[in-house]
């Protein structure tokens, strides 16, 4: 693919993130700075804004745009702080980019986008796409997507990707000019077709099965987690009622009053603490969701392998049948059923000249067929090789990322327990003073 262009690119770190958060961002996406665009360029999705405009059918619509900022890595280390290059993109453009990548790199487990609509929501969270919390989480997800692409050994050097980050105008046209749309349509059709492969590569079949299982289990996990979050919210919030009643009660007491009143305040604090707790947990849910969608990308690659394998098998089958026809023609025996065979039986044999002509045609077809089989064979081998490399890379990334996610989840739970102990100890102190 094309080279990455000049080095004088401004890169900006997200000014809203703390340095440790930025680092975590990078760590969690297991960025391979060594082999990727990220070696030269800092990328971030810094902001989100609402816009209104006319859409394709000339109707007013409100949509969100995201600010992508880029800056050369060297600039920061040299002590400069140049103004970053930036441009605005909306979600549909990210989708276009991803579709392009899917078609152009079918052997890659392409990083997923954050969800289009909020799913697995627990009741307090809004399922509205315009909700600021959703937009914020989407901003983070889009940045994560860009960082993953930029750190991928194959994807990061893609020209269209580079232009996505740097050329605001005319990018869409450039993408369509690549003609990927045609390939996309036929690919989509093929992927949804049902066919049976005679000799699937066992590894890919297992991977596909793994993808299915992963998708199912993460879906279930997210569903139950959302329900549990709802319940936890209820538990904490009802404690707020203690705050009110203790306050009222303290008004009719003499010695007990002070202790009750202050205990009530702690109950209020306890009730309020659940909002932060659940917001943090939402981050964990987002990490799981990313792998839910990754499972789909994995299955897509396996499906693509099946397709190439199938096409090879079809070509081989076709070649074999042509060879057989040649043999029959040459020896005069009819072993396979063919309409020509039938008609010649019914209406008499053909002339030697006709047979010669036919043989010649078959020979050409066989030659072409052999070329095709060779082609498809090497395609298949190539695909299997490069896909398996990426799948191994993906496996390592997945194991690392999910382990990190579990660790940070455990840390979250620890923090929640410690807060709980503190609040109740405070309340206990107040009760003791009653």
């Amino acid at each position: 693919m094309a080279d990455s262009g000049s080095e004088d690119i401004a890169v900006i770190g997200n000014t809203d993130l703390t340095p440790s958060e930025s680092e975590n961002n990078l760590k969690n996406t297991m960025v391979e700075k060594g082999t990727s665009l990220l070696k030269k360029m800092e990328i971030s999705v810094a902001e989100a804004e609402k816009r209104t405009g006319k859409n394709a059918v000339n109707m007013q619509e409100t949509y969100t745009v995201y600010l992508i900022e880029t800056r050369p890595v060297d600039a920061a280390s040299e002590g400069n702080n140049p103004v970053p290059d930036s441009l605005w993109r909306r979600y549909s453009e990210f989708e276009l980019l991803r579709n392009y990548l899917l078609v152009t790199y079918p052997f890659v487990v392409v990083p997923p986008l954050p969800e289009k609509r909020a799913e697995f929501v627990w009741h307090k969270l809004s399922a509205d796409n315009m909700d600021p919390d959703f937009v914020e989480r989407r901003r983070v997800g889009l940045e994560n997507f860009l960082l993953r692409v930029a750190s991928h050994p194959a994807l990061s050097s893609d020209k269209i990707f580079y232009l996505f980050l740097t050329e605001e105008n005319g990018w869409k046209e450039t993408v369509f000019e690549t003609g990927f749309q045609a390939k996309a349509d036929s690919r989509l059709k093929a992927l949804h077709a049902t066919f049976r492969v005679k000799n699937p590569d066992k590894r890919f079949a297992e991977m596909k099965h793994y993808g299915d299982e992963l998708q199912a289990v993460i879906s279930q996990l997210l569903r139950v987690r959302a329900r549990a979050a709802d319940r936890l919210y209820g538990v904490y919030k009802v404690h707020g009622n203690y705050g009110r009643v203790f306050s009222e009660w303290s008004a009719i007491e003499k010695e007990m009053g002070d202790g009750l009143q202050s205990a009530g305040h702690h109950m209020d604090a306890y009730a309020a603490s659940v909002d932060d707790i659940l917001e943090e947990e939402e981050h964990y849910a987002d990490q799981l969701k990313e792998y839910l969608f990754y499972a789909d990308a994995l299955r897509t690659v396996c499906r693509k392998h099946e397709l190439t394998q199938y096409e090879l098998e079809m070509a081989v089958q076709d070649l074999t049948s042509k060879k057989q026809q040649r043999e029959e023609l040459a020896t005069g025996t009819i072993r396979t059923f063919s309409l020509k065979g039938m008609t010649s039986k019914l209406f008499g044999q053909e002339t030697p000249e006709q047979r010669e002509a036919k043989l010649k045609m078959l020979e050409t077809q066989i030659e072409e067929g052999e070329e095709l089989v060779k082609e498809r064979n090497s395609e298949c081998d190539e695909f299997v090789k490069s896909a398996w490399v990426d799948i191994e890379r993906f496996k390592e990334q997945k194991d690392h990322d999910l382990r990190e996610a579990l660790i940070s989840y455990a840390i979250m739970q620890i923090s929640m327990c410690k807060k709980g102990i503190q609040v109740w100890n405070n309340a206990k102190e107040c009760f003791n003073k009653m």
Binding site: V238, I252, M256, K428, N432
Partner: protein, 390 residues
């Protein structure tokens, strides 16, 4: 020591002819002792519930242990078995024989069959605790603890529930009251304040009860979700290699937290709610005692007015009215003392109840904390191991 031999600290003999003075005297002498555990001379415990099955019925008995140095008791120690009926009998007898005093409440008599299992461990234990509390409150009361029915309850091998009527002490004789019929009068400020407080306090208790119930409900539903949540990590681990142990670890953690939560909700159900409800009953008793006091006051004032009205007779105030006046003063004194004791106990009880609630929650979080903290090295260790093997 018999009442008639009492001498006040300043040397003057006590006039024990009037029942009012003797009871208030006892209160004066013993109020301080009551609050000081070291001078307590009567200890009562309820434990060891046992199920009895007969052809007629099935019921539970509880062992009542008494240790005392009081001379009113023949022995220093007693062990008897009593059933709920017996406690109920005792309470009724106390109310009858000591109408000027606040009798502590018993746990509820009737439970809806089919809704509550009368023989489940939790129910029996909850009831045992309440019965224990009841007897301890009576034992701590300077007047009630000397009641002959209480004595019989603690010491008699077989509680003949017809006993006691034949024995009429001066105390017992003095308290035959007419129930009602007189026009109610204005309460003295002191007792009006008590009534007002109780009217304000009752709904607060109701609210706290509702909140506690709601929390238990929400926690139970959260628990249900957790019980589904944990196992999902387990099924995930079944098709992972490197992630197998971390995922299993998380599943185990969630399971531990679930158990801790279950303990919390059970404890709150068994310890917190029953005590709250007991106080509602206590308040009802107190309100009734206040009303009885009102009646006694009403009787006195009515009779007094009648006498004053007949001024022309120029007779000294008849002993009937005198007796009523005594009763009013006696009742007021008893009630005031009981109220002070009740306020004090209430403060201790609620302090104990609420710190108990805080403790249970702290224990819950500590258990969860321990579980998650032990998981971290497990999750991180593997990474080091990975580094070595790869």
């Amino acid at each position: 020591m018999l009442l008639k031999d009492l001498i006040l600290p300043n040397g003057t003999p006590v006039d024990t002819s009037s029942p009012a003075s003797s009871s208030s005297l006892l209160n004066r002498l013993q109020l301080d002792d009551d609050l000081d555990g070291e001078t307590r001379d009567l200890f009562v415990t309820v434990d060891d519930p046992k199920k009895h099955v007969s052809t007629m019925e099935t019921y539970i008995t509880y062992r009542v242990c008494t240790k005392t140095s009081r001379t009113e008791f023949d022995l220093p120690e007693y062990l008897v078995r009593r059933r709920y009926q017996d406690f109920d009998w005792l309470r009724n007898k106390l109310e009858e024989s000591q109408p000027t005093h606040l009798i502590p409440p018993l746990p509820e008599k009737f439970v809806m069959k089919g809704v509550v299992d009368r023989f489940s461990e939790e129910f029996v234990e909850t009831r045992r605790k309440a019965l224990d509390k009841f007897l301890k409150r009576v034992a701590d009361h300077p007047v009630l603890s000397f009641n002959e029915h209480f004595n019989a309850f603690l010491s008699a091998k077989d509680l003949n529930k017809r006993q006691g009527l034949a024995l009429l002490t001066k105390m017992g004789e003095s308290v035959k009251f007419v129930t009602g019929g007189y026009k109610p009068r204005a309460r003295p400020a002191e007792f009006a304040a008590m009534g007002d407080y109780l009217d304000l306090f009752t709904p607060k208790l109701g609210t706290i009860d509702r909140i506690a119930q709601r929390i238990i409900k929400e926690q139970s539903e959260f628990l249900m979700e957790l019980r589904e949540y944990g196992p999902v990590y387990s099924s995930w681990s079944s098709f992972e290699e490197d992630l197998h142990d971390p995922l299993e670890g998380v599943s185990g953690c969630v399971s531990n937290c679930s158990s801790a939560l279950e303990e919390l909700t059970e404890d709150m159900s068994e310890d917190f709610l029953p005590v709250l409800r007991e106080y509602v009953l206590y308040i009802e008793s107190m309100k009734n005692v206040l009303k009885k006091r009102d009646q006694v006051q009403a009787e006195y004032e009515t009779k007094l007015e009648a006498v004053v009205f007949r001024e022309d007779k120029k007779t000294p105030v008849p002993t009937d009215v005198e007796k009523c006046q005594d009763r009013v003063e006696c009742f007021n004194a008893d009630l005031k003392a009981d109220w002070d004791r009740w306020e004090n106990n209430k403060r201790q009880d609620f302090r104990h109840l609420l710190t108990g609630m805080a403790d249970k929650n702290i224990q819950y979080y500590e258990k969860c904390l321990a579980a998650w903290e032990s998981l971290i090295p497990l999750l991180q260790d593997k990474q080091e191991a990975e580094g070595e093997t790869s």
